[in-house]
Symmetry: C2
Subunit: 335 residues, 2 copies
C-alpha cells in the first residue's frame, strides 16, 4: 500500500511522513499531493490570526479541545497547522508543540504540526496549502491554520481558510488601530481573548466602532476583498442575511467563551453554505493555489532554459547600474 493510501486510511505515521515531504517540496511530496487531492474538499478550514501577545496558541489549543467535546453534536477530528512566518531562516517546527501536546497527547483524532518559513512567503503559503490538503484527505473535519504576526503573511494564510478568526487582546499598544483597519477586512469572527484583563471594554468598544464604520447601514460589507452589496445576483441569495462579524470574549486557558465561539464558527459555515459564498471562497482559494504553483514552475523552467552564466551576467550589469532590473529581464527573455 502506498504511503498516500495509508494517509487516506488514517495512518498518523504515514501522514507525518508525507507532511515532511510536502514541507520540503520534494517530488515525493508532489506525488503524494496529486494522489491525495481528489479526496480533499470536505473539511472546514479555519484561520486564526492576530497580533503577537493576543494568546492565539492558547486559544487554538482550547478550540481543538472543545471540538473534541462540542456544545452540541458529535466530536470532530481536528488538525492544526501553526505557521510562524516571523521565523524565516531557522526552518523546522518552532512553536510550542510540546506545550500543547501535553493536553492533547494521546488523542488520536487530534493532529498538530508547526511550520516555520524558510525565507520565502510564497513557499510557506504553498507548503501550508499542501499540509491543509493532506489533513483534508486524511479525513480531519476541522482544520485550523494558525499564524503568528500581523502583516501580509496573515492575509496570505487567511486566503487558505473558509472562516477567519481575528484575535485581539486588551492593552496591546497604540498602533492597534492601524492593524484593525486592515485586518477587519479579513475577519469573519472577532475574538477578544484575555478578556479577564483590564481594558477589555475599551478593546470591545473599539472593535464595535470599527464594525459600525465598516457596515454603516448593515447593507454593505466586505470580506476577503470582495465587496458585496444589498443587491445580490439572484433572489435566493437575497433571503440570506448579511454576515456581520460577531465579537466574542474568551479567556483561553479557562475555556471561557469557547463553546460560544464554536457556535459562531458553525453559524459562519452555515452562512457560507446557504449564501453560496463557500463555493466562491473555495474557487478563490484554489485559484490562489494554482497561481502559486504556476509561478514556481514558470520561474524554474526559465532558469533551466538559460545559458550558464546569463543570469549572473545580467546581475553584474544591474550592480554596475548599466542595466535596470526591468531592462535585464527583457534581455534575459530574448535569450
Amino acid at each position: 500500500m502506498s504511503l498516500a493510501r495509508s494517509v487516506l486510511k488514517g495512518d498518523r505515521l504515514a501522514l507525518a511522513r508525507r507532511l515532511s515531504e510536502v514541507e520540503k517540496n520534494t517530488p515525493a511530496g508532489h506525488a503524494a499531493l496529486n494522489e491525495l487531492f481528489p479526496h480533499t474538499g470536505k473539511a472546514h478550514l479555519i484561520g486564526v490570526t492576530g497580533a503577537p501577545g493576543t494568546g492565539k496558541s492558547s486559544l487554538v489549543n482550547q478550540l481543538a479541545l472543545h471540538y473534541r467535546r462540542p456544545p452540541q453534536g458529535e466530536p470532530r477530528r481536528v488538525a492544526v497547522v501553526a505557521v510562524d512566518p516571523s521565523s524565516p531562516f531557522t526552518g523546522g517546527a518552532v512553536l510550542g508543540d510540546r506545550i500543547r501536546m501535553r493536553e492533547l497527547a494521546g488523542d488520536k483524532d487530534v493532529f498538530i504540526r508547526s511550520m516555520a518559513s524558510r525565507g520565502s512567503l510564497g513557499g510557506l503559503a504553498q507548503a501550508t496549502a499542501g499540509v491543509v490538503a493532506a489533513y483534508d484527505a486524511a479525513g480531519y473535519d476541522v482544520i485550523i491554520i494558525e499564524t503568528v504576526g500581523a502583516g501580509q503573511s496573515e492575509v496570505d494564510i487567511a486566503r487558505l481558510a473558509h472562516t477567519t478568526l481575528v484575535v485581539e487582546a486588551p492593552g496591546l499598544g497604540d498602533d492597534i488601530q492601524a492593524i484593525k483597519a486592515g485586518i477587519l477586512e479579513i475577519a469573519d469572527i472577532l475574538v477578544v481573548n484575555k478578556a479577564d484583563r483590564p481594558g477589555v471594554e475599551n478593546t470591545e468598544r473599539a472593535l464595535k466602532n470599527m464594525l459600525a464604520l465598516a457596515h454603516p447601514t448593515q447593507k454593505v460589507f466586505q470580506h476577503h476583498g470582495q465587496r458585496m452589496t444589498a443587491e445580490p445576483e439572484n433572489k435566493d441569495e437575497a433571503e440570506v442575511p448579511m454576515w456581520i462579524p460577531p465579537i466574542q470574549r474568551t479567556v483561553a486557558p479557562d475555556g471561557e467563551g469557547l463553546p460560544e465561539l464554536i457556535t459562531h464558527i458553525a453559524a459562519h459555515y452555515a452562512y457560507l453554505q446557504t449564501s453560496g459564498d463557500l463555493t466562491r471562497r473555495e474557487r478563490a482559494r484554489l485559484a490562489n493555489e494554482l497561481d502559486v504553483h504556476l509561478r514556481e514552475r514558470l520561474v524554474a523552467d526559465f532558469h533551466e532554459g538559460l545559458s550558464p552564466g546569463a543570469y549572473e551576467d545580467a546581475l553584474d550589469q544591474i550592480v554596475a547600474r548599466s542595466l535596470s532590473p526591468t531592462e535585464a529581464v527583457a534581455q534575459l527573455l530574448k535569450k
Copy 2:
C-alpha cells in the same frame, strides 16, 4: 525636460508624480525607473521594523529630525517610505503622514510617503523597491523604509535595506520570545523604544540573553541569513571585527537616545563598507529585485499566450477535484 530629469534635479513635485506611477506599476513608472536607475546606489538604506505597539512611526519621525541636525557632520537629506502590509485591500496612504508632517513640514530636504499593500506582497515589495530607487536617484542621503507588523513581510522589506533596526518595547505580551527568535536574525541594531516604561530592564535583558545565545563566542554570527565564521576568505576581512548588534534605549517623542542611535547606524554603515559586506548586500538586494520583476513578467507573458478560457477550464477541473493544482500547471504548460 522629462519628469525623470526633473526628479534628478531635485524637483519634489516631479518626484511625487513619478512615485505615484511607480506605485501603480504603470508603463510611465517603469520608464521613469529605467531612466532613474543609473543614478542610484548612493544612499544609505535603513530598514525599521518591529511588532505593533513599539512606537516605530514616532521613532522614524525622530530619526528624520535628528538626521537634519546630526550629532556630528553635515545635515543629511532624508526620505521615508512607510509601508503598511497590514492594510492589504485599502490602497493609498494610510499611515500618519499628516501627524508627522506637522513637525517636518516646510523642510525641503525631508520627503515622506506612506504605502499600503494592494493585496500582493510581491507587488508591495516591488513598489517599495521602486520608491527607494526614485528617492536614491533624487539625491536623498538617507532612506528609511518603515514597516508595520511582525511577519514575513518585514523580512522581505528588510531585504531592501543595508542596515535594519528592529524595534522592541517593554511589556508587549507573552509570545514576544517567538518574534525575537526570528527577528534577531535580521537585526543589525536593536532599539528598546518607550524606554521610560516599566519593564525596560526585562526587555533589555531578554534581548541580551538572546544575543548571547546567538553569538556564544562572538566568533560566529548570522545576518540576513548568511552565516559568517571567524575565518573570512581573505586577510583584509580578518582584521574587521565581527558586528554584534548593539542595543540602544530610546524614548522617541523626547528624542532621548536618538543621537546615540544615529551614531550606531553610522558605525554599522562603516562596518559594511570596510568588511566588504555592503557589496554583498547590494548584490543580494538587486538580485531580489531582478527576481521579482522576472517572476511578474513570466506570469504576465504566460497568461497572454494562453487560449481564452484555458485558465478557467483548468480551475474548473481543480474545483471539481479531477485535477490537482500541479497537474493543472502541467496541462496549461502543454498548451
